[in-house]
């Protein structure tokens, strides 16, 4: 059973997180090992397994980036280092070098601020690209588009996602 199936959801990226939370709580109650103390050993094991699966599924699906990562993994897609665009690497490298200056106290307040703004803008662009591509995915699934078209969109999502850890690292460095 995959994480979407756990919650009876189609493989779509637009998820109502409030409804998801409620479903998680309902299902957790239903499968809670405490209710199975007098059940057979196999039923007990099943309850424990289901609870673990529910926790993993909920933690993954409630987070928009992890949700996409998981969807991609279901189709065997994962970030590929040979496909990271050189332009992105160059930009990230440069920002890192500037961050180093800021941390060493060699940069002016203006330079530090503009770097902060640059990273924030990258984050916002990433979020909106991911959201847009996620919406497109849902549309394709709803329309029952052929596999080739779906794979193309999965490739697009993988490409966008390859920026995710770079932005996260830059934000972490900034703190």
């Amino acid at each position: 059973m995959d994480y979407f199936e756990v919650f009876g959801l189609p493989r779509q990226l637009g998820i109502d997180t409030l409804a998801l939370e409620k479903a998680f709580h309902d299902l957790s109650r239903k499968h809670h090992p405490d209710y199975f103390t007098r059940a057979s050993p196999s039923e007990k094991t099943q309850a424990v397994r289901m609870t673990a699966l529910l926790n993993d599924a909920y933690r993954t699906l409630r987070h928009p980036v992890r949700r996409v990562e998981y969807l991609l993994s279901l189709y065997g897609f994962k970030p590929d280092s040979s496909k990271v665009p050189q332009a992105l690497l160059m930009e990230v490298f440069e920002i890192n070098e500037q961050l180093e200056e800021v941390k060493a106290g060699k940069a002016s307040v203006e330079e530090a601020d503009s770097l902060r703004a640059q990273i924030k803008e990258k984050r916002e662009r990433f979020d909106s690209q991911l959201q847009q591509a996620s919406l497109e995915w849902d549309e394709l699934v709803k329309r029952g588009e052929p596999e080739a078209r779906l794979k193309e969109q999965l490739g697009r999502l993988t490409e966008i996602l390859s920026e995710s850890s770079y932005i996260r690292n830059l934000e972490r460095e900034l703190e």
């Binding site: 970030p79 590929d80 990271v84 690497l89 490298f93 920026e163 995710s164 850890s165 770079y166 932005i167």
Partner: protein
């Protein structure tokens, strides 16, 4: 997870940190990244045109200790080697030398990729002359 002594040594005393001029025709630059962890690694080689031997190498890596150690070691190893010898360096050699745990193997792959990218860049610059 604990780092091996060799990783810590390279991390604390990285060899050959810095950069060479990208514009220098004898310098090859490799810039690679691992999207899983967000590391970026730049490795540069300076090649003697007469002998084809790598005279100098520099790196700069923004990433975890293992990525820094892998690239530091890579610059040490490529120095004094011909391009063909440098290309023969395998990530598994780096894993062995630094005792990298399985979760850090991708750092050594990145270093191998960086060497290859630097050599490719140098060759591209010299395509016409050869």
């Amino acid at each position: 997870m604990a780092y091996s002594d060799k990783v810590i040594d390279h991390y604390n005393n990285p060899r050959n940190v810095g950069s060479l001029s990208k514009e220098d025709p004898n310098v090859g630059t490799g810039l690679v990244g691992a999207p899983e962890c967000g590391d970026v690694m730049k490795l540069q080689i300076k090649v003697n045109e007469e002998s084809g031997v790598i005279e100098d190498a520099k790196f700069k890596t923004f990433g975890c200790g293992s990525a820094i150690a892998s690239s530091s070691l890579a610059t040490e190893w490529v120095k004094g080697k011909t391009l063909a010898e440098a290309l023969a360096i395998k990530n598994t050699d780096i894993v062995k030398e630094l005792s990298l745990p399985p979760v850090k193997i991708h750092c050594s792959v990145l270093a191998e990729d960086a060497i290859k990218a630097a050599v490719t860049d140098w060759k591209k610059k010299h395509e016409n002359g050869e």
